[in-house]
Symmetry: none
DNA sequence: GATGAATGAGTATTCATTCAT
DNA sequence: GATGAATGAATACTCATTCAT
């Protein structure tokens, strides 16, 4: 049993990596089993279908990414810090970045889209709670919190995931986030560091200095 | 020559309709030629490849949609009105809505994404000019105009294209747009009508009354 | 040992039921072991192969069905009555009728054919003895008895197993059977009741009245 | 167009031969295209599916076999002779006999069964007309003609197609046929020659002399 | 301009069977 | 007796693209 579990996890990891780097559609079962060094039958022993494998891969990703977020929420940091930490925790790890940096090459759109959707779904309630805490702490001030949080996440996803953004984009994003949540001007400037750091392949953000 | 052009346009229209209703991936060349009643060779006489057909289809769509926008820009309405008109002009026509309203069924993601990207690319400079005019007219007040316009478009796309949005979403979107561009509170409330109206299948937005 | 025997019998019963209801080809080993709640290895501990399982299933069926026939033969009823009883005993039991009555759906042809063949093989000598008895009793009068009995069985199988027969078919079958065995006209009219009764789903034989 | 037709016929012939000799289930598309020396796509250009190929093959066979029968019916031979000729015309040609003589090896059952069914369906009305003519000519005398003809065909199929029959079987079959149709004793003895001749691989029927 | 026959690489999935534990 | 992980050959079907006529 233990052995089987390990093997399944291993396959899941391989599938995950290949889906990310080559795209779901462009990854054949043969690719996966060759990489894993197993027989075709073994693959189908663990997964009912390719589609189901994608499902499992996505679930795994989401779980991994929300897990950290939840524990942050349960800690007793101040609201702003929690927000920082949660947002940081859901950013895709560098290793997840497909080769050649283009997570959303046309072939990846499908998986990427699904992950984004599920992630937003999961993270909105978490961040909403943080914003509520922040309101109690006098940091934020707004109504319709979940809707605002969702917009913030959507914007963040669309703007920054592709890696083709400028410092100006960051500036405007910070500005609008503060206004969105009714926060003090410049109080959320920390976001800058969350965005600017991630992928080592990013060049255009190398000298992201404070310009304001 | 004229005849050939017409034939190509006809094929383009058919491809366009099928891509939209069934998805690019799920539309085979055979589907297209059967619908058009031509031979396979004829198809390849007009298009180098399926991919190239997609390219042409997208180009055609964008052109159609920005054409109107440009003429609006060149007119001499006041800035706010221009904005209304341009935004209205780029909303997908009802006929483009695939059967049962789900333009972004998984199979359509690819094309939809590409259209969105190209559209944003084309419309940002147009709306930016409008915003500039608006600033001269004292209606808007902000820096980094293209970035702000782009964010507004991105948000609008992500929020409203899927049709699963609430009145609260609209409220927040209006609020944020005003703040984004430095407009007077409630000055952009007109957006509500642009969003709430389009698809006849939308029920949840039927009684979108002013709540503020 | 006892336990093992019981287990094997249980498997046999399951296989039998599945072969009948879904067809041999359409029943996978996985289907069987899932139904039985055992591991794949266990199945192969009891059966050498799927083919061998079919063999065993058929053998089991035949045995069950001829068993009764033999005991009838050994009893001391008059010949005609024996014939009635034996023929009745080899008609497939209602539970063996696959769902919706179509024992010979294309997928079942293979098994059905084999069962029919084996059954004919086994029953011909039994019924031949009955006919011989009948000749001694002056009821039948013919030569080449086994051949005649075999033809009678073949006709019966082909005509009545599928359930799509008419009253006319029954009339002709009775007529020809009497002539085949040299029996008195109308002396075998009892056959009618053997045929007309069986499956409750049969509608076309509901009012099978004597028409002669 | 002509060329395509020829190609399709050629493929049909190959499929037919392979289905007969190896069985439908055991013949893969690859087998067929290798034999034909064409690409897989070409096969699917002519046939929608393997199943549809089987359909076409069967149709072709039936057509070929009933065609002759119809022209015989339309001729002006006496009834008995017509019957002889029609029955002779529907016997499978020697070349159709699969290699090693076993047309109904388990793997062939499916196709064989379907052919038999369709053939009976088609031939019953033809032979019924002949019997009617025979009745007018005073040769036959019976009621329920189609039913009787059908039984005769069924018996003939089941008894003689497999090739494992004896002279006694023939004798009884002739006897029963005469009685079935109300013909004079020995008037249908000619059937013997129709049955005894066909397959060269048949050994047990080699010296089929008149024994009555 | 137009045809349609021909291609062939590519793909997911099934399943009876084996064997070390 | 029993398990279940591992196998791998087999198979039907798709589809964008080419090219001789």
């Amino acid at each position: 049993m233990k052995k089987g579990e390990r093997r399944k996890q291993e396959l899941l990891d391989i599938a995950y990596r290949m889906f990310i780097s080559k795209g779901y559609e462009n990854t054949s079962i043969d690719d996966i089993i060759n990489e894993a060094g197993i027989a075709k039958g073994t693959y189908y022993y663990y997964f009912k279908s390719k589609e189901q494998t994608l499902e499992a891969v996505i679930e795994m990703m989401i779980e991994k990414e929300t897990e950290a977020a939840v524990s942050i929420l349960d800690s007793d940091m101040p609201a702003l810090q929690k927000m920082v930490a949660i947002i940081a925790s859901i950013r895709p790890e560098p290793e997840e970045q497909p080769i050649e940096g283009a997570l959303m090459r046309p072939e990846n759109i499908i998986m990427h889209q699904r992950i984004k959707q599920k992630l937003v779904e999961k993270v909105v309630p978490l961040l909403s709670k943080v914003v509520e805490e922040g309101m109690e702490q006098g940091i934020f001030s707004c109504d319709y919190i979940p809707e605002r949080v969702r917009m913030m996440l959507i914007l963040s996803n669309e703007l920054f995931d592709e890696g083709s953004f400028t410092d100006r984009d960051i500036d405007v994003f910070i500005d609008i986030t503060e206004k969105l949540l009714g926060a003090q001007k410049n109080s959320m400037d920390f976001i800058r560091h969350l965005i600017a750091a991630p992928a080592p392949s990013d060049v255009q953000t190398a000298n992201a200095e404070d310009k304001r």
